[in-house]
């Protein structure tokens, strides 16, 4: 272990970590929108929609992310859609995250006592108001711990987009390791940066959980 090698690699890796972080955040935001849609499909009384939701979840959770990424890269140009690699990578991460988040939301919805919906109906709430004022706020609160977990998983999974050519933390460390002949130092540093980001995220998640729990009483 040579500390000077770490010192030399650190600015590059930190710079790349910022890319990893924003890609993950953008993907998780889109993933939440998709997740809510998938969840709505799955709980919908329309059988075709429910089927589609189930198939979506099964596909994106059943196929390895690396295969999904390569599929996007090969399929999009074939059907004539030309998007930059970064957009395709973020899109794929979002789609995959939508499947996991959708299931988290579905679980949270199931955890809300039926009595709440019945009470709202008795009070004359319409279906939209029930969703917006009764179900979604509670489902979001119940989902927070799982969603933080999901964000951490996504941040780690985003390392795979290095393989399809996006220059983020994993790719930068791979390049640096090859250039400096110091793979051990470089990867240990990269691993510690990932770890630090995840520890901060889980700390923020715990804080958010406490606040939401307090707001609930």
């Amino acid at each position: 272990m040579k500390l000077s090698a770490v010192q030399e690699a650190l600015p590059w890796l930190l710079h790349a970590a910022v890319t990893t972080l924003w890609i993950s955040v953008v993907a998780i935001v889109f993933g939440q929108i998709l997740g809510l849609l998938v969840c709505l499909c799955r709980v919908s009384p329309n059988r075709a929609l429910a089927r589609f939701g189930a198939l979506y979840v099964s596909f994106f959770r059943g196929v390895p992310l690396l295969v999904q990424l390569l599929l996007t890269y090969d399929l999009l140009p074939y059907i004539g859609i030309d998007v930059p690699p970064l957009a395709a990578a973020i899109g794929t991460l979002s789609l995959a995250s939508g499947a996991y988040s959708g299931e988290i939301y579905r679980g949270a919805l199931n955890a809300i006592p039926r009595g709440h919906v019945e009470a709202a109906q008795a009070l004359g709430f319409g279906p939209v108001a029930i969703w917006l004022r009764i179900l979604l706020p509670q489902a979001l609160r119940i989902s927070v711990p799982s969603l933080v977990n999901e964000l951490i998983l996504l941040l780690k999974a985003s390392s795979l987009i290095s393989i399809v050519g996006v220059t983020e933390l994993a790719r930068t460390s791979h390049t640096l390791a090859a250039q400096t002949y110091r793979p051990f130092e470089t990867y240990v540093t990269a691993a510690l940066i990932y770890l630090a980001m995840n520890l901060v995220l889980s700390g923020l998640g715990a804080a958010a959980e406490r606040r939401l729990a307090a707001a609930g009483h």
């Binding site: 390895p64 780690k156 994993a170 770890l195």
Partner: protein, 219 residues
């Protein structure tokens, strides 16, 4: 699209699939064995050891598998650890899995009803017998869903081994794609194949779950 490339390449793909299954099985077994050993070590309650183990588990769970694999394979020789690609891949799968398996076992130990252990103690069971005949069977019931879930996650991680050129299915498929330019055909087949494999594994997992909880339905 032209799927006839498979006529020519199937022996390679078959050996790739065999390697995928081999890496998955040995990686998962190694992970389960290591995870169980770690869970037993944590039960000793020796504080410095607990902190150390918790730190190690936190590091393994907080870093991407890809980086761990690079570190082991590319960085290993720097600390005198020279491994072949497949050895490094299996060891990486095992280490990565063990951090998750050990948490599952810990939850499993906590789920064993105290009364059963006390009953075994009062009947004069040795500590090993209590572990083997009371704790393990009782915890297995609680942890089968989590175990199969983690084993399935590992099956998807085997794909990542292709980046250090382990000749598993993904690697063989990619070299076929590079030689034939049939990239799309290749990756579609991969997606379908892994999807089927994961669904099959999930079914097996549910069957195992039904089997260990069969006693609940006897009455």
């Amino acid at each position: 699209m032209d799927f006839s490339v498979y006529l020519h390449y199937w022996p390679k793909l078959l050996s790739g699939f065999g390697n995928t299954l081999f890496c998955w099985a040995t990686g998962a077994l190694l992970g389960i064995a290591l995870g169980f050993a770690l869970a037993l070590l944590r039960r000793t309650g020796f504080a410095p050891l607990l902190w150390l183990l918790r730190g190690v588990i936190e590091v393994v769970r907080g870093t991407p598998f890809l980086i761990q694999l690079y570190l082991l394979y590319d960085g290993g020789p720097a600390i005198g650890l020279k491994l072949g690609a497949m050895q490094a891949g299996i060891l990486a799968l095992g280490i990565y899995g063990s951090a998750y398996f050990t948490e599952i076992f810990r939850a499993g130990f906590a789920a064993v009803p105290r009364g059963q252990v006390e009953a075994a103690e009062s009947l004069g069971f040795s500590r090993l017998d209590i572990l083997r005949r009371v704790r393990l069977p009782a915890m297995l019931i609680a942890i089968v869903p989590a175990l199969t879930n983690m084993i399935i996650i590992l099956s998807k991680e085997t794909v990542v081994l292709s980046v250090i050129a382990v000749p598993e299915l993904m690697y063989q498929m990619q070299s076929m794609a590079a030689e034939t330019f049939a990239a799309l055909e290749t990756i579609i087949a991969m997606a379908v194949l892994y999807w089927l494999m994961v669904e099959a594994a999930a079914r097996l997992g549910r069957a195992a779950e039904l089997r260990v909880t069969a006693y609940l339905r006897v009455a």
